[in-house]
């Protein structure tokens, strides 16, 4: 089974308090992930696959295994469809932990935005160096 992590080829993300924002610069898309989508994304950052992600969902949320498998499949397919994933050898299996308090599961939603394509695909942002100063571009 293929293991995935988040791509670093033109893809960047930042974990804010309530939301992960992801940008795919080559295509100029950006994404918002909240709630369970945020949790699953952070799990995938460390390497995962469909099976492990399903176990992760079951161990953290109040869902059946079937629901978890379906959600994991759907989530990975969507991320992969937007070229946000790359294969990796890393993927730590999930060890069930009864101490973890499982929370209600909201269907993971990836909000997709393409209204910045013109600005993002040519990435006009400037490099900043704390010593050399700004604007120092890529």
């Amino acid at each position: 089974m293929k293991n995935f992590t988040i791509s670093n080829k033109g893809v960047a993300f930042e974990n804010f308090i309530d939301e992960i924002v992801v940008v795919n610069l080559p295509v100029g898309y950006y994404y918002s992930l909240k709630g369970s989508a945020r949790t699953l994304f952070l799990h995938i950052v460390n390497g995962s696959n469909r099976e492990i992600l399903s176990k992760f969902i079951v161990s953290n949320f109040e869902v059946t295994l079937d629901e978890a498998v379906s959600a994991a499949e759907d989530f990975i397919t969507k991320l992969d469809g937007h070229n946000l994933l790359v294969e990796t050898t890393n993927a730590a299996d999930i060890i069930p932990n009864e101490m973890i308090e499982r929370t209600p599961f909201d269907i993971p939603i990836i909000e997709i935005y393409d209204d910045m394509k013109e600005l993002l695909s040519l990435d006009p942002i400037h490099d900043v160096d704390s010593v050399q100063g700004w604007p120092l571009k890529k």
């Binding site: 960047a12 993300f13 930042e14 804010f16 308090i17 309530d18 939301e19 924002v21 940008v23 080559p26 950006y30 918002s32 935005y113 209204d115 910045m116 013109e118 600005l119 993002l120 695909s121 040519l122 990435d123 006009p124 942002i125 400037h126 490099d127 900043v128 160096d129 010593v131 050399q132 100063g133 700004w134 604007p135 120092l136 571009k137 890529k138």
Partner: protein
Amino acid sequence: MATEKIVNPLISVIIPVYNGEKHLKQAIESVLNQGHDFIEIIVINDGSFDKSYEIINSFKGKIRAYSQVNSGVASSRNLGISKAKGLFITFLDQDDYYPLGRFNNFLKTYRKSKELIFIGHTQYIFEDEKAKLRWPNLPKDNITFVKLLGASIFHKTVFTDYGLFIPELQSGDDIEWFYRLNQSGEEINKSEDVVLFYRQHSSNVSADKKQVDKYLLSSLKYILDAKKNIPNNKN
């Protein structure tokens, strides 16, 4: 909104500077060399600790200069806008420069057009081959149309109508600002002329990448919060 059709309207060129000694002289000279007397150059020294101050001083009498405690590029641009006397405002980064005749087409066009925003083409200038690797999609002549502040000229009312740059966004401020402008539906007059030489460096690319991404993503977060009417939080 009607534009005042003065034959040669004053244009304010705002140059924010933070430790820009390497290319600043060329940037300022590229504006002076335009040879127009209806251009004012406003340099904002944002707490530089290299030789930027001396370089700025060497242009005494030819430019207007202001200093502030290091507050970031957005804050510097905003200070420049507040000091600008021009009917039109544009920007130039300390490491970029203008081609000769940068304003010629604008002056011909603006008199006939109703738009308040004019954006021309940008030519990317690569300091070395490594810097070029980052831009695989550029045309062979390295010229393309991209919304950059340095390639744009704005009627001053654009900033009163749509607001200033957001200082918290650091160097992602232009992304957010152009997004706001896009949302406004304000029409843009696009020119085929190259109006900006946009210098690209290869140094420190990997070291800076994380920081660049952070600024960009903070700007996108700001935009997302605005879309969802969430008060912007600084996290």
